[in-house]
Subunit: 188 residues, 2 copies
């Protein structure tokens, strides 16, 4: 897959085959993710792999619960756009994907968001090149229950930056509309 | 360039030929950057292109000045590792590259850091596939002087997320050491 195929074919996939992602292939994807650049080459990313559908469902319920609690105290929260689906008990924020990977890192690191986003970008490309679909699930990072955090092996001083589902796509959506590039200025 | 070439060949380039990046090629790179995914498909990224070496030098001096001021009030700041080069008046944080692109967006947007980091990742791959080198300059985003901000056309309610230099590489460095992937847990 050449570069422009890769950049255009990487799509947010929300519909997956009932087929596991072999661990060796997932490890290839994670290895390639670690080629991402990071601030001062710190490589602060850590990975938690969850390929148990019951645990993924529990994580979905926990994240939805916390988003709805937040909405009660802050009705203008950006997640208000998602209130209807958050209240739908059949809706799984992880789209019933067979595998979920959390890219996490130390809370106190200033560059953590961008470092982990770069690793996530490599992850999505590497998966795409192997015929796998991914989707970064912004609604899936609100995990607070200490019991669940312990179950998934999340260190206390870490936070989830990128929850990414991965699996074999049943359906690959078209490119959603893109605005033209917004160039504010060219200083020559 | 196939996907694994792209992922391994994208290097942080800090040494550039004295050769301009044609604007049409830069626009191809920016167009491809806009294929990045973003939270709720908001595409909040805006681009400022600076291909004037005097302005780039002024931006370097301004960013260094603010980093040094910050170091005075906060000696434990992460930029303390860079104090010697920041005090070197010949050091240009943008490595005398012929072109600098700021990826910027609205300050108040919660997902701004990760959205712009994803666009930056696409930018770096797209440039690499065209034989161009890039480097995300973490030390280059501390621009506060209202006169300079006005000169480059930065909106008041926006912030710089990713300052990226781009040009034809004189020297492509080897891959710096990478740690093996840090897998915290596999929940099966």
């Amino acid at each position: 897959m050449d570069h422009s195929e890769l950049l255009t074919k990487r799509r947010a996939v929300r519909d997956y085959e009932e087929k596991e992602v072999p661990l060796d292939i997932l490890m290839q994807v994670i290895n390639e993710s670690c080629l991402a650049p990071s601030s001062s080459n710190r490589q602060p990313w850590h990975f938690i792999i969850i390929n148990n559908k019951d645990v993924i469902k529990r994580l979905s319920d926990e994240s939805k619960r916390n988003l709805l609690l937040d909405l009660e105290s802050n009705p203008a929260s950006p997640s208000s756009n998602y209130e209807a689906i958050l209240r739908d008990k059949h809706f799984n924020v992880f789209y019933n994907a067979p595998c979920l990977v959390f890219i996490v890192g130390p809370k106190e690191l200033l560059s953590l968001q961008v470092d982990c986003a770069l690793a996530a970008c490599y992850f999505m490309f590497s998966a795409c090149a192997r015929g796998l679909g991914t989707c970064w699930i912004g609604l899936g990072r609100f995990i607070k229950d200490p019991e669940i955090l312990k179950l998934i092996g999340m260190p206390d001083d870490h936070q989830i930056v990128a929850p990414i589902v991965i699996g074999y796509p049943k359906d690959i959506p078209d490119v959603p509309d893109r605005m033209g590039p917004q160039i504010l200025n060219i200083v020559s």
